[in-house]
């Protein structure tokens, strides 16, 4: 006949896995031990948890050696990350890369030959040259668009979106390469 309150045993049994795994505080472990000394029913439960703990601990021996699972590295298609120079070159050789280089090259040529385009005197700096070309280009485009500011805005907007998308695609390509 068990002289303990069943609620007591239930509470103790819930602590037994922690007791067996030595995860209880010293005070709690002492209280469980005292109960176990006097309660055969909980000692039976303890034996079950000890058996479970031992079986679980033994599972660490079931991990097989890794070699049987490793791929044939020469055939596995290893995709090593390339060096920064190769990645940069590959990114520049892509469609967005070439587009951006052409745009920059065109801007420089415009700057260099801006005098001829604008018919103005030579500017001192590249910025002044580019500003003059932009102004000349704007005037020319306004004239071509028949003075329609909305058409002009649409053309410039499309160009700006093109440059932004190209720059984004170039960045993605560089990062992924």
């Amino acid at each position: 006949m068990n002289r303990f309150d069943p609620m007591d045993c239930e509470r103790i049994e819930a602590k037994l896995p922690l007791f067996v795994a030595r995860e209880l505080s010293a005070d709690e472990a002492a209280s469980v031990s005292t109960h176990l000394d006097a309660c055969p029913q909980c000692r039976d439960a303890l034996a079950s948890f000890v058996s479970i703990e031992q079986a679980l601990v033994a599972r660490r021996d079931e991990v097989p050696a890794i070699d049987a699972f490793l791929p044939d590295m020469s055939a596995a298609g290893f995709r090593a990350r390339r060096g920064i120079l190769i990645r940069s070159f590959r990114a520049l050789m892509s469609v967005p890369g070439v587009a951006i280089v052409l745009v920059m090259w065109g801007a420089l040529l415009f700057g260099r030959y801006s005098d001829r385009l604008t018919g103005e005197a030579t500017q001192k700096t590249m910025l002044e040259r580019l500003t003059a070309v932009a102004k000349h280009g704007l005037d020319a485009m306004v004239a071509a668009a028949g003075g329609d500011a909305w058409t002009l805005t649409a053309v410039y907007g499309a160009l700006a979106i093109g440059v932004i998308v190209s720059a984004g695609a170039l960045t993605v390509r560089f990062v992924r390469s």
Binding site: A14, P17, L18, A45, S48, F49, S51, I52, E53, A55, L56, V57, A58, R59, R60, D61, E62, V63, P64, I66, D67, A68, F69, L70, P71, M73, A76, G77, F78, R79, A80, R81
Partner: protein, 191 residues
């Protein structure tokens, strides 16, 4: 320190050093194996080897995309988990009986001890199959991979308290399952 070592091994692997890749995954092999075993369960024990091979193949092929934002162990854990779940979803109708699962005894056991040990391990293995997958994963990582609660929490992306609860409840469940009359008969048959 371990993280720095992993970073170094990843860098060497990315330069094509196969030995470094072996050392890298070797450090986390038990973790990957434990999660694959936990997700597949004993019913799909035959698929464990295939999933492990796929896990390392995917890790090898995808190492270039590892950015080091998470730990390598977490990255590998995610690959192993995804591959195992993929098999589970594809083979949901597979009805291999749990009684057909044969678990080998340890090589160093004597014949009698081997029989007894095999019986006990089969009982635990079958009882594990009835556990919730989260409990099983936490228990396998704790015992098979010998991970701390903090490491398991990081891998499973759960609070440490939840992991402790999973392991604790898992053991209580195991005891409950093994105490059923049918399981007791199996134990008597073994001993």
């Amino acid at each position: 320190m371990s993280n720095d070592q992993d970073r170094e091994l990843v860098a060497r692997s990315l330069r094509g050093d196969g030995r470094a890749f072996r050392d890298l995954v070797g450090k986390h092999h038990a973790t990957a194996y434990a999660v694959v075993r936990a997700i597949l369960g004993p019913q799909r024990f035959d698929d464990v080897d295939d999933v492990m091979q796929l896990t390392y193949l995917k890790a090898y092929q995808g190492l270039g995309s590892f950015r080091g934002e998470s730990k390598f162990s977490t990255w590998l854990y995610q690959i192993a988990r995804r591959e195992a779940l993929d098999v589970v979803s594809k083979k949901r109708v597979d009805t291999t009986s749990i009684d057909d699962v044969e678990i080998p005894a340890r090589a160093d056991a004597t014949p009698d001890a081997a029989t007894h040990e095999r019986g006990e391990r089969e009982r635990i293995e079958r009882a594990m199959a009835e556990l919730d997958e989260s409990y099983r994963t936490a228990i396998e990582l704790r015992y098979m991979a010998e991970k701390s609660y903090e490491e398991i929490a990081e891998l499973m992306r759960l609070p440490v308290g939840t992991v402790k609860t999973y392991v604790h409840r898992g053991k209580l469940e195991l005891k409950k399952i093994l105490s059923r009359p049918a399981w007791r008969e199996r134990k008597d048959a073994v001993s």
